[in-house]
């Protein structure tokens, strides 16, 4: 079926038949189309959020004021309360999730590698990483509010976030610890350094960049989580630093509380500005994480 005319006696390097060339061309078009299609949503979302929210985000009040006293019909106010709330809840979560995650990874790799216990722990970490955020929030609700009767609070949100951040930190730390060559540990032992100091002063510093990356990615994830905020705390429009109070502002709930508003109202623009703020923080953390990962002394294979 060759397009070229050749005699049968010759050995010729024929061009592929028309059908094959067409299929190849279709495939090429398809993959490039797919790639274009994949890039479009990000550009579109960013364009939407930036175009609708940039005006407010560039003002000074946005970063310094809260929404106290502002109704959807009034201009003004800022997102300070929401930014502070988001960051505060994430940091409380990190304060719990990061040590447990790192110690858990140390347990799996340095102390219990290959044992049945390690496999059990690893399995439960897998389960934990599959918990939908709403179920994690429900659990904390049921435990603290229904059973203990404690009432809503920002701390409860942080606890729910711990369930979500812990597996991220643990898995990434685990991967980094696996990458640390065993020879480094042996070199340290050969100097007469006990195991715990070896882990603390040799292994962890070597894996540090990768561990930081995991923490950053975990933080970015929990800052964007809305479900726990919906269930476990009430949205506050004023500034509130106390983690035990039952109201706390946060960017996702700031967005959520305003999304039903009519587009003409000033409150509507604030919703988009809050969305832009949230994206900025998330992207910043992601980029920082990548940057740190590149500076890591342990290269992935």
């Amino acid at each position: 079926m060759s397009a070229a005319t050749t005699t049968d006696a010759q050995v010729s390097f024929r061009r592929p038949s028309g059908v094959r060339t067409t299929k190849n061309a279709i495939a090429t078009v398809y993959v490039f189309l797919a790639t274009a299609l994949a890039v479009i949503p990000l550009a579109w979302v960013l364009y939407t959020v930036i175009s609708k929210g940039i005006r407010l985000v560039l003002t000074q009040e946005w970063w310094l004021q809260s929404q106290r006293g502002i109704t959807p019909r009034r201009e003004g106010g800022g997102a300070y309360h929401a930014i502070v709330g988001t960051v505060e809840m994430a940091l409380i979560c990190a304060a719990i999730a990061v040590p447990i995650g790192i110690l858990g990874a140390i347990f799996l790799i340095e102390y219990a590698k290959g044992t049945k216990v390690a496999r059990a722990v690893s399995f439960t970490v897998d389960i934990l990483s599959g918990i939908p955020s709403i179920v994690a929030a429900l659990f904390i609700y049921a435990l603290f509010i229904t059973i203990f009767g404690l009432g809503r609070s920002a701390v409860a949100v942080s606890l729910a976030l711990v369930l979500l951040m812990l597996p991220v930190v643990l898995r990434s730390t685990e991967e980094m610890l696996k990458l640390v060559p065993n020879e480094l540990r042996e070199a340290s032992y050969a100097l007469g350094v006990p195991k715990w100091k070896t882990i603390l002063r040799v292994v962890i510093p070597t894996a540090f960049a990768g561990i930081m990356t995991g923490i950053m990615l975990g933080l970015a994830r929990v800052m964007g989580e809305t479900a726990p905020l919906l269930i476990l705390v009430s949205y506050a429009v004023g500034i509130n630093f106390s983690p035990t109070s039952d109201t706390m502002g946060a960017l996702p709930t700031m967005i959520n509380s305003g999304r039903d508003q009519a587009p003409q109202l000033p409150g509507y623009e604030r919703v988009w500005a809050a969305a832009l703020t949230l994206i900025l923080i998330s992207m910043l953390l992601n980029l920082l994480a990548r940057f740190i990962a590149r500076a890591s002394k342990l290269k992935e294979k």
Binding site: N24, L128, P132, L170
Partner: protein
């Protein structure tokens, strides 16, 4: 960067001939090259081993320090506690949720799995997850059906078609999608994408609306269709990143074997890359499915909650509620244990399904990896 080693001058002297006697070896011919004088680096004379006074010196022993073991014990205890507490935590979560859900399940007057009612206040509970199951599965499977072909296309493009220099930035952009919080996808989906897709939805309904799956147009903005598209965008980075990794690991010899037979690029992909990566892609798709199943907030924002009395519509253009969005939508109302228990029961079903999907993904990945 590296300084080359300074060349140490070798202080070398051939050994005195008496030390190496070639004639002693029976296979003299074989060993001749061995017994040419072997250069020995000269040490200072004093280092000649075992001089008289060193041999006579009584051994003085070595001082071995007393090592404190507390550091090791404490640290090991800390690490073990962390590991075990995670197990306990997960066990506790599971048992606790189950314990809370069971009373409500027992009090349920409808069949939990087949009923579409959701009466959870008051004394008589009648609730079932059939409607939730349908909407959840429909939206997630549709999302997967949209996302996977595109993700595979992207992965192939990045690994087989583009140069390293171009594929870096492009994969960066695709991965950056994962950095966008889901609430923003929800907001964007509702206000921008929904209206954009509405004409297409109307057109489709008018053409093939007789198929139940495509019927009805209650709210073209808040439909399962829009939610599925948004979910597809959200799971695209995961599926494409894993597929990319799998395709990039196709052994060079498979590819070169195909190329040497005169295959076109597409034929190389079809015969070498795709078969090798099949299990990886399936695994990636299931992970994406798991992610879509558990997505709460984007779906909550986009999907129009149908009125309780409205008839059930299987159409992708209808609204609905998924497990996650139903729980989130009613977050303000968990005032009684029996009501909360019903929602927890729904949450548990979601959790089990998500876990099963993720576990299957892992098994497929491992089995595929073992084959290669």
């Amino acid at each position: 960067m590296a300084v080359t080693d300074t060349d140490a001058t070798e202080r070398v002297e051939p050994q005195p001939a008496a030390a190496l006697d070639p004639s002693l070896s029976p296979a003299a011919g074989h060993v001749e090259h061995m017994h040419t004088p072997v250069p020995k680096v000269i040490h200072h004379a004093a280092a000649a081993p075992a001089t008289i006074d060193q041999v006579d010196r009584a051994p003085r022993g070595v001082k071995l320090a007393k090592i404190s073991r507390t550091g090791d014990r404490v640290f090991r205890a800390l690490a073990t506690t962390a590991g075990l507490s995670i197990v306990l935590l997960v066990l506790f979560v599971g048992i606790f949720l189950l314990a809370l859900a069971l009373p409500s399940l027992r009090a349920d007057q409808d069949n939990f799995f087949t009923s579409r009612n959701w009466t959870v206040s008051g004394a008589d509970l009648a609730f079932g997850i059939a409607g939730l199951l349908w909407t959840t599965v429909l939206s997630s499977v549709l999302a997967m059906a949209i996302a996977v072909p595109i993700a595979v296309g992207v992965a192939l493009c990045l690994t087989q078609y583009l140069h390293k220099r171009a594929s870096g930035p492009v994969s960066f952009v695709v991965d950056l999608l994962a950095a966008v919080p889901s609430i923003i996808f929800g907001l964007w989906g509702l206000t921008v994408l929904g209206p954009f897709l509405a004409p297409a939805a109307v057109w489709l309904t008018s053409k093939i609306g007789w198929i139940p799956l495509f019927s009805e147009n209650v709210d073209p903005k808040g439909s399962v269709f829009v939610a599925a598209v948004v979910l597809a965008i959200m799971i695209l980075p995961i599926v494409s990143a894993i597929s990319r990794d799998v395709f990039a690991q196709t052994p060079r010899d498979h590819i070169e074997a195909a190329l040497s037979l005169g295959a076109t690029r597409w034929e190389v992909i079809r015969t070498a890359v795709l078969p090798y990566g099949r299990s990886g892609v399936i695994s990636a798709s299931m992970l994406g499915l798991g992610r879509a199943l558990g997505e709460t907030i984007a779906v909550m924002i986009i999907l129009t909650t149908p009125a309780p009395s409205s008839p059930f519509s299987p159409s992708i253009f209808a609204g609905g509620e998924t497990f996650a969005s139903k729980i989130a939508n009613n977050a303000a109302e968990f005032d009684s244990p029996s009501k909360t228990g019903a929602y927890i029961a729904a949450g548990l079903v979601l959790f089990v399904v998500t876990f099963a999907v993720n576990a299957m993904a892992r098994i497929i990945a491992e089995r595929g990896g073992a084959k290669s």
